[in-house]
Each structure stands twice: as structure tokens, then as C-alpha cells.
């Protein structure tokens, strides 16, 4: 029995060893997983849709794009508001005459004050006279002829002038919150009553003069001073094509619009002495035609339109200037000089909030042709993440509904920015222009895809030497710029980029 038990135990041990051995050998001791190096992964990088509106807006953040009804033709509008402005306090001065008081009642209007109504916040009426006696006197001074104070009472003051060794007295009467209204009251008169303090004997003061000083008005009406304000040489930085490095762009009907807004109730005119356009290359074109070197009257509010803003618009377009010629070279700046001046006798009205301002708007309807509009930009890049990849392959796919061919290229450079390789062979046409209809409108969308693979020595070269890439695009409208095309709101294009890498 003992032998049997021993044999049984031995058999069990042998079987266990056999199975553990089999199991271990069959399934083995796996220390890890080797995934190899042949994993090729493809994934998208960029997928963007640009509309023509996006494109034009991207040219300059001060630009707006209007889609004209009914079909959405695009107009690039560059607004530069307030290139010139003057407030009434700067623009219009009141006459400040000096009056000789010849009698105890003197008519001032008859002298030289042509203002018919004056509402003052503040101001002073200065007096200067000689007393005929060497003793203390009392003088009552009064403006007669209209409603003078906020209470409706005439402006009247009683003053005491003690004798201190001199008979020459000067001073001023405050005109704060005073309203001077001469029309309908027979004009403005000044009356005084001077008496000795000792016995109340009435006196005549001579010489006696008056003058209005430091007038701060809220409203003035009547004969105001004629003025002329020169518009100094100034520059409007349009730079509507700031991202473009060059090329030609012909726009069929561009225009520059000056919008003059005026609330000064006087006849005013504007005269532009010169108007020059400087393009990307520094060429300067003198704009000629209507409005240049001519006084153009500006609309102004009448007495029944006090505070109303009147607008005068001056449009420079192909009908009156050589603007198309000036715009073709991608305008960057507009220089101008001139004058803004009152005309006539200066009769009118002005308030303390009256102003005159000039806004400039350049409107560029994109019915056009273009040739070699060049965009170049440089980016810092780090291609070291590609070091461990066996290869990388970019695939570019575009869909274009904008009637222009775009030849693109990406150059690989080092710090010296000298290209040593490029993404495409030659300048490849990345975007293909679709055909256009009779109106110059793109009728279809064109698809193009380009794949470029980097591997082996070329890949090593690019990944190790590249520190910058230069992105360049040249846009030429359909048929090498020989066909007029038009941009519409629904013109768009897709740019997509995918990457395939060997891990």
C-alpha cells in the first residue's frame, strides 16, 4: 500500500511537472509587446472654409464688406471717420466790439454789435470811466432793450466807487446766465446814472467805454465773424491690401467718398487743394477732376433747423476723376490738403455744440481683374516632432468658387530665410479658378488635391534644417487676368490639409 501511495504521489508530481511545463512553454514568458515600426497613421489637420467676405475682411480689420442687394455683389468699404473736425467754439468767434458811452443812454446796436441774440453761460461786461469829482460816487448801470437775465428782468447793477486819490475807475459786470435779445426791442442800449454820495448830485462820466469779454455762449445768432480754417496736409492710411506684397488689381468702379457733416448754421465751403494716392510700390498718382481745387459749398442748417446735422457728400469716381488709374496699383495712402471756410457775410447761427466733421470712405466694388497679387508670410516652425517618423506626407485639397487661380508654395528655410526645399514642385496651382458666367460670377466649384511625401534623405534634410517656412501665394483672376470677374457673397473656398505619418 505504501508503494502504491508512493507511485501515486510520484505520478501526480510527474503529471504536474508535465503540465506546468507544457503550460509555460505553450504560453511562454512574455516580457512585453513589440508593436514594430510600420504604423502609418492618417488624420486631418486643417479644414477651413473661407468666404470672399472673410477674405476681404481679413485684409484689414478696419474694413467692412457690404453685400449689395439683390444678388450679393461684394463691395469693400474702408471707413476712416473724422479725418477733420472742428467744434463751434473752435470754428466760430463772436465779435467783441468796444463801445464809447457818449451819453447816459447810449444805443449799442447802432454801434457795431450785429448779433441779434446771444445766450451766455458766462462773460464779462468791462467798463472804464473817469469821474469828474474827487469824492465818492454811486453809479447805476443798466442794459436796456431786451430780456437780459434768466428772471426776465433787465440787467441792472448799483456800484459804489469810493475816492481813493484817483478818479479813474475800471471793473466788470458779470454776464453769467444772461440772454441778450436785441431784435424787436429797438436795439441794445446802455444807461447809467452817476451821483455824488455826499449830496446826490447827478454826474456825467466821460470818457466812458464798455467792452464784452470772455463770452461763453450757448447760442449766438446774427452777424458772426467770417472764418477760414486750413485743412493741413494729412494722410489717410487706407492700406486696404496690407497683406499683399504686390501685383495689379483693376477695379472697374472704385470711389472715394467724403461725407461732410455740419451743424454750424453758416454758409461754409470746402476746397481740396490736392488729392494724391500712393500705392504699394510708392508710386504717387495725383487725382484730378471735379471737386479738386474748387470751393464746394457745404450744406448747413437754417434758423428753423437749429441743431440739425446737414450732410454733404462728395463722391470721387470714374465719372469725375481718374480714380481707377490711381487704385490699380493697390493704394496704400491718400494725401490731401485744403481749406474749410465760411462764405458770404457770416450771417447765421451757432450753438455751443455745433460742429463740422469730414468722414472718408473708400468703396471698392469687386468687379475686377487681378494679376499676381502676392501674399508672403514667414512662420517659425519646429519640425523636430517629425524626427521619429519614417516619413510624413501632406495632402492638400482645395475647393474653389472664387474666380481666381492661386499658385501656392511653401518654402523650407533655415535662420537665413534662404529656401532649400519646397512643398510643391514649382509654383503649383493650389486653387483652380472656376469658369464664370456673363456677369463674371463663378458658376461652379473646382477641386484640386496635391500630395507631397517626405522620406529618406529629403525628410532628414527638411526636419533637421527647417526653422522657418515661407508661405507664398500668387492670385490671378480667371484667364490670366484678362477677364473681368466679380466677387459675390456666396463665393467661397475650402482649404483642407491632411497628414499621413509613418510612426
Amino acid at each position: 500500500m505504501k508503494n502504491t501511495q508512493s507511485n501515486l504521489l510520484l505520478a501526480l508530481v510527474l503529471v504536474s511537472i508535465l503540465f506546468s511545463s507544457c503550460s509555460k512553454t505553450f504560453f511562454g514568458d512574455v516580457n512585453g509587446i513589440e508593436s514594430g515600426n510600420s504604423q502609418d497613421v492618417a488624420f486631418p489637420l486643417v479644414n477651413s472654409r473661407f468666404t470672399s467676405r472673410d477674405l476681404l475682411l481679413g485684409l484689414n480689420n478696419l474694413t467692412t464688406v457690404e453685400a449689395l442687394p439683390p444678388d450679393g455683389r461684394l463691395v469693400l468699404v474702408f471707413n476712416q471717420p473724422n479725418v477733420f473736425s472742428r467744434n463751434a467754439s473752435d470754428a466760430v468767434n463772436l465779435p467783441l466790439p468796444t463801445f464809447n458811452v457818449t451819453d447816459t443812454l447810449t444805443n449799442l446796436s447802432a454801434a457795431s454789435l450785429a448779433i441779434t441774440e446771444l445766450r451766455l453761460n458766462n462773460g464779462q461786461l468791462y467798463y472804464d470811466f473817469i469821474s469828474p469829482v474827487t469824492e465818492d460816487i454811486n453809479v447805476q448801470m443798466q442794459l436796456i432793450g431786451g430780456t437780459y437775465t434768466t428772471t426776465g428782468a433787465p440787467l441792472k447793477v448799483n456800484l459804489n466807487f469810493p475816492y481813493t486819490g484817483s478818479t479813474h475807475f475800471t471793473g466788470s459786470i458779470s454776464l453769467a446766465n444772461t440772454r441778450v435779445l436785441t431784435s424787436g426791442f429797438g436795439g441794445l442800449q446802455f444807461r447809467y446814472d452817476a451821483r455824488k454820495v455826499s449830496d446826490n448830485t447827478r454826474l456825467t462820466l466821460s470818457p466812458f467805454s464798455l467792452s464784452f469779454q470772455s463770452l461763453d455762449y450757448t447760442y449766438a445768432q446774427g452777424g458772426l465773424l467770417v472764418f477760414t480754417y486750413p485743412v493741413p496736409l494729412d494722410t489717410i492710411q487706407f492700406d486696404a491690401f496690407r497683406t499683399l506684397r504686390g501685383g495689379e488689381l483693376y477695379l472697374e468702379n472704385p470711389s472715394i467718398e467724403l461725407k461732410i457733416q455740419n451743424t454750424i448754421g453758416l454758409p461754409i465751403g470746402i476746397k481740396l487743394d490736392s488729392l494724391l494716392v500712393r500705392d504699394k510700390l510708392g508710386n504717387v498718382t495725383l487725382m484730378t477732376g471735379s471737386y479738386v481745387n474748387q470751393v464746394v459749398p457745404i450744406n448747413y442748417p437754417s434758423l428753423s433747423e437749429i441743431g440739425v446735422r446737414k450732410t454733404t457728400t462728395m463722391v470721387f469716381d470714374n465719372s469725375n476723376t481718374n480714380i481707377s488709374q490711381a487704385i490699380t496699383g493697390l493704394p496704400q495712402e491718400i494725401y490731401y490738403t485744403g481749406d474749410v471756410a465760411s462764405t458770404g457775410l457770416g450771417q447765421g447761427h451757432v450753438t455751443d455744440s455745433s460742429y463740422i466733421s469730414i468722414d472718408v470712405a473708400m468703396r471698392l466694388p469687386f468687379r475686377c481683374w487681378s494679376r499676381n497679387l502676392l501674399i508672403v508670410d514667414t512662420f517659425d516652425v519646429d519640425l523636430t516632432p517629425f524626427t521619429d517618423y519614417r516619413f510624413f506626407e501632406f495632402k492638400t485639397a482645395t475647393e474653389n468658387r472664387v474666380p481666381a487661380d492661386v499658385y501656392g508654395q511653401i518654402y523650407f528655410t533655415g535662420d537665413d530665410l534662404v529656401p532649400f526645399d519646397s512643398l510643391f514642385v514649382g509654383d503649383d496651382r493650389v486653387f483652380v479658378s472656376p469658369p464664370v458666367d456673363a456677369n463674371g460670377r463663378a458658376s461652379t466649384s473646382m477641386y484640386k488635391s496635391i500630395s507631397t511625401r517626405f522620406e529618406g534623405a529629403r525628410k532628414l534634410d527638411v526636419q533637421s534644417r527647417t526653422t522657418h517656412i515661407i508661405v507664398q501665394g500668387k492670385a490671378t483672376s480667371l484667364n490670366n487676368g484678362n477677364t473681368i470677374v466679380e466677387l459675390y457673397d456666396d463665393n467661397d473656398f475650402y482649404y483642407r490639409l491632411g497628414l499621413k505619418v509613418g510612426l
Binding site: 503529471v15 509587446i33 497613421v41 473661407f50 491632411g498
Partner: protein, 446 residues
């Protein structure tokens, strides 16, 4: 994490004993003579089954061992080589069973049995894309939809089997009723991952309909791109994961020479409700690339925020619902021919059903009695689409002690890296009370 790795390692490397085809031809091992296999009637009034170990590995096209490689002195699994040989549909089925004790009692034509087994299993079905895309990437699927499919059912359970059988005339019928108690499980209920790579610029569309159930495994918390595994001690004790299974068998002894058998095994399943986690991801994601217009025209794009939102969308939702898994049933048909006192011959046809996959097998065998102590046999089988399956078996009897070992793929013992199927069993029995069954019944059968 360590527990999870241990659990995963256990589940992925262990195998479970499939019903060895050879076992249907061994009539003298009472350890196989369960009531559900009544073609082998116990020849002793009492049989005590000592520890028996069984293992089975079936894979298609080849077992992972074929792709082991040496790197820096270590053995690694060369996924690239494996993926290079992957077929449209592939599978790995491993089963492992340890039966430490059992007993069979026979009285006249009636017999009972009781036994315990510890079982582990791994069923993994996967298609070509499920391997190719992770290993080779999606570049080969540009312009196509890669349908990644992997069906997993891996687990371990206790099996307490009670059987009874009865012989009348030439017929014997039997059945085993198994009480199953699940230890741990990981299985897929939904397994759809569709990755479409557009031919334009490789835009990606990922559609998932995934549901992975686990029981008694550490919970995995996925938050954005971070994965955390909760600590949990593995427990091999009894749990609330209850299940039942049924085996049925019937034998017809036509005469002294011929016996025929038909049977069904492993009809049942386990209802997992102990410490369950259900990870569900049902989404449809599209990644078409970054819209650079937002960058050009002033906005900024955070790549991290894109990744976060992508990951958030992929994040599975976790629930704690109970779920059910089924065993993999098998149907078997066999015939035995008793040529003389020395030679016996047999034939077996079997069908295994793993999830939705049906694997048929046929085998022929012969057995020779050397003396009263030793018997040896050999089988030849066609299984798993391969015909290079040569089996050997041996039994040794010394008094009440019987030792046995068998395999129907003995060739693969010596060429693991090429075989795609391996089965082996070994164990011992103690017999008491010889019923001289050869004199009772009308012959000696397999």
C-alpha cells in the same frame, strides 16, 4: 492597477479544458464517466477522482506563441508579425479546469456522481481590422471604414456538478446539473467600433457602440484622457454570481461490438451581479481638422481643449447593472467498435459553439491493451480547420490507483509556435468495489 494586471494576465493566459475528443474514446477512466456521458458505465461501485488538470487552446489562424520574438534578451510578442498574418476573422479560445476531487457511486443500473471543478476561460473573437488598425494604423483604410470587432468573454468560476444516470436494456441516459458560482468576468455585450478615414484629407469618423461588462474586477475610471484603476483585492471565494448548467447524454449499445453516443454539454450560464461595472460608449464622432479661420481672424484654438472635448465624448458611462453570460455549449456524437480483447476503435464528431462561432471537429481513434497495467491509444482528428492533430493517450492501473494522461494534439507539444490547437488532460483515480462490469454488460465498450 496591480490587481487588474494580475487578473488580466490570468484571464489571458490560462486555458480551460475543452472536452477532449480523445476522452470520448477512453472507456476505462471513470473520471470521464459522468452521468452525462453514459456510454462509459462505471465499473466500480465507488470511484474517487483525484486531482485532474485539463487545458485547451484553440486559435485561428495561429496561436500567439507563433509571434514571440527575442528582443534585448527578452521574449516579446511581435504584434506586427501577428497582424501580418491576421485573417478576416480570428479567434482564441482557451479553457482551463482543475478538478481536485470527485466521486462516483454505482448501484446496479443506477449511478450518481458529485464533483467540483475550478474553471477559467477566455473566448476572444477578433477581425482583421481590430488588429491591423492598432498595429499598422489607419493609412491602409483611407477611403474605407475599418470595422473593428472584438468579442470577449473571459472569466473564472466554481463548478459543482451533481449527476445521475440509469441503464435500461441497451440504453443508458444521464444528466449533470451544475451549480456555477462566478468568480470574475469581463465580457463584451456590444462591440462596434467603426473608424472611417475619408480619402480627401483623411477626415475621421468614429462610431462606437460598446458595452463591456465586468464583475469582481477593479473599476476603471476614465475621465477625459486619464484612466484610473481602483484598487480591489481579488477574491476567489463564493460570490452572488450564481449560474446553472446542464449536460445531457444518451448511449445505445447495439451489440457487443458497437456503441453509439449522443450528448449535449454546457447548456447554461452565469448571472453576474456581484461588484459589476458596465462601461458603455455609444457615440458618433467626426474630426475634420481644425478650422483655422478662427485663428486667422482673431480667435484662438486650444488643441488641448479639442482633445478634451474629443475624449469627453468618448468617455464611457459606467453603470452597475447585472448581466448574463452563457457557457459555450458542445454537441457530441460518437461510435465505438470493440474489435477484440486487445483493440478498440472509435469515431467522434463534435460541434463547439463559441458565441456565434461554430467549430466542428471529427476524430478517429484506436486503443490497444498492452497488459493489465497499461493501455495506450492514438487519435487522429480534424479540428479547427486543420488536419495535423495526432493524439496519444495512456492509462496505468496499479491496484485501486489509476493514472492517465491524454492529448489529441501531441504534435503541438513539440511545436508550440506552429500549432493552433492544443488539448491535454491528466489525472488520477481511486477505484473501490469492482463490479466485474464486463460480465454484467454484454461486452466491453469504449
Amino acid at each position: 492597477m496591480r490587481n487588474l494586471l494580475l487578473a488580466a494576465s490570468l484571464l489571458l493566459t490560462a486555458s480551460l479544458s475543452a472536452q477532449n475528443l480523445t476522452s470520448y474514446m477512453l472507456n476505462d477512466i471513470d473520471g470521464f464517466n459522468t452521468p452525462a456521458m453514459p456510454q462509459f458505465l462505471p465499473k466500480y461501485s465507488l470511484s474517487v477522482h483525484l486531482p485532474t488538470l485539463g487545458m485547451s487552446n484553440t486559435s485561428q489562424p495561429l496561436n500567439p506563441r507563433a509571434y514571440y520574438a527575442q528582443k534585448d534578451g527578452k521574449t516579446v510578442l511581435d504584434l506586427e508579425a501577428l497582424a501580418g498574418d491576421v485573417k478576416d476573422n480570428n479567434f482564441i479560445y482557451n479553457r482551463y479546469a482543475l478538478s481536485p476531487v470527485g466521486v462516483t457511486w454505482r448501484k446496479n443500473n443506477f449511478y450518481l456522481s458529485l464533483g467540483y471543478s475550478f474553471k477559467e476561460y477566455l473566448y476572444l473573437d477578433y477581425n482583421r481590422a481590430a488588429v491591423e488598425v492598432p498595429v499598422f494604423g489607419n493609412a491602409n483604410y483611407v477611403g474605407k471604414t475599418a470595422q473593428l470587432r472584438a468579442t470577449l468573454d473571459a472569466g473564472a468560476y466554481h463548478d459543482i456538478a451533481f449527476g445521475l444516470g440509469y441503464q435500461f436494456d441497451k440504453w443508458t441516459i444521464g444528466a449533470n446539473i451544475h451549480y456555477l458560482n462566478g468568480i470574475a468576468n469581463a465580457s463584451t455585450a456590444q462591440n462596434q467600433i467603426d473608424l472611417t478615414t475619408n480619402s480627401d484629407i483623411y477626415q475621421l469618423t468614429l462610431a462606437t457602440d460598446l458595452r463591456v461588462n465586468t464583475s469582481n474586477l477593479p473599476e476603471v475610471i476614465i475621465d477625459s484622457l486619464n484612466v484610473q484603476v481602483q484598487d480591489q483585492k481579488m477574491s476567489f471565494g463564493l460570490s452572488n454570481n450564481h449560474g446553472v448548467a446542464l449536460d445531457l447524454g444518451i448511449t445505445y449499445r447495439m451489440n457487443d461490438k458497437w456503441t453509439f453516443y449522443a450528448g449535449l454539454q454546457d447548456l447554461g450560464g452565469i448571472y453576474w451581479r456581484n461588484n459589476t461595472n458596465n462601461y458603455t460608449s455609444k457615440t458618433n464622432l467626426q474630426f475634420n481638422g481644425i478650422d483655422v479661420t478662427r485663428v486667422i481672424f482673431g480667435d484662438t484654438i486650444s488643441v488641448q481643449s479639442l482633445l478634451d472635448s474629443f475624449a469627453l465624448t468618448l468617455n464611457p458611462t459606467t453603470t452597475k447593472e447585472s448581466y448574463m453570460t452563457n457557457l459555450s455549449p458542445q454537441a457530441t456524437f460518437s461510435a465505438n467498435y470493440n474489435y477484440n480483447s486487445k483493440w478498440n476503435f472509435g469515431a467522434v464528431a463534435a460541434v463547439n459553439i463559441y458565441n456565434t462561432r461554430v467549430i466542428p471537429a471529427v476524430a478517429l481513434g484506436a486503443r490497444y491493451t498492452i497488459n493489465k497495467h497499461f493501455k495506450v491509444g492514438a487519435t487522429y482528428a480534424y479540428k479547427n480547420l486543420r488536419a495535423d492533430n495526432l493524439g496519444l493517450n495512456v492509462t496505468a492501473n496499479f491496484g485501486p490507483v489509476q493514472l492517465f494522461a491524454l492529448s489529441d494534439n501531441v504534435i503541438n507539444l513539440f511545436r508550440f509556435d506552429k500549432g493552433n490547437m492544443f488539448h491535454a488532460q491528466a489525472g488520477a483515480n481511486l477505484y473501490f468495489g469492482n463490479l466485474n462490469i464486463d460480465k454484467i454488460v454484454t461486452g466491453r465498450y469504449f
